[in-house]
């Protein structure tokens, strides 16, 4: 299945793109997807420091991904 991954702030700089489509095995978990992204781009945030959103909604790391999911790994925020 194919998912789109969206990057923000330092993750976007490190990835060198705003988003990318990634082909993964059906039923891939969010932690496995993040591991794949770390492998590609060398992110150094441990997963525990990130929040994750799917289709513009915060989800838990055990959320089940479907084909076409829009995923965002969110580094600690610093608005305000």
């Amino acid at each position: 299945m194919k998912v789109s991954v969206h990057y923000f702030a330092s993750l976007r700089d490190r990835a060198g793109c705003v988003s990318e489509d990634i082909e993964m095995a059906d039923g891939v978990s969010l932690p496995a997807l993040y591991a794949e992204c770390c492998g590609r781009h060398g992110f150094d945030f441990p997963r525990e420091r990130l929040r994750v959103a799917v289709d513009d909604t915060f989800v838990n790391w055990d959320h089940r991904l479907l084909d076409g999911a829009q995923v965002a790994f969110l580094p600690p925020v610093s608005g305000g």
């Binding site: 702030a9 330092s10 513009d56 965002a72 969110l74 305000g80």
Partner: protein, 137 residues
């Protein structure tokens, strides 16, 4: 009008304040975050804010609605600026109206704290030494 907004252009605090005025309220408290010329001893030249717009709007709206449920207030509005900001620019505005000042102060403080903790917006500081970095506290 949504209670939480993201703005690419300068925030107009006078206009936001006016929209909240009502004679039901005896108290109004507002917080403004300004772009400061220093951060932890480093001399700041400018800022960028990047936003995950869809999620920031829904999370910001949720914060304002939670504030209305938690505190005895009449109205609450918040706006966060994004993009490139200069020193002294208004980065975030939170206004709360209430019958009495206790609730207005508490709710205003709570809303800005929650925005800073929960809304997907990121700040990049540009320093005078040429370095710039994303803040991920």
């Amino acid at each position: 009008m949504p209670a939480f907004a993201i703005s690419e252009t300068p925030i107009d605090p006078a206009c936001l304040r006016e929209a909240m005025q009502t004679s039901q309220c005896g108290a109004f408290v507002c917080f403004e975050g300004w772009v400061r010329d220093s951060h932890q001893g480093k001399s700041v030249r400018a800022l960028d804010y990047q936003v995950y717009r869809e999620l920031a709007l829904s999370e910001g709206e949720r914060i304002v609605q939670e504030a209305c449920a938690r505190f005895d207030i009449v109205g609450a509005t918040a706006v966060h600026r994004v993009g490139a900001l200069a020193l002294g620019d208004l980065a975030v505005w939170v206004g709360v109206s209430a019958g009495h000042r206790d609730a207005a102060f508490s709710a205003c403080r709570w809303v800005i704290d929650e925005i800073k903790a929960r809304v997907p917006i990121w700040k990049r500081e540009h320093y005078h030494d040429g370095v710039s970095e994303w803040l991920h506290p």
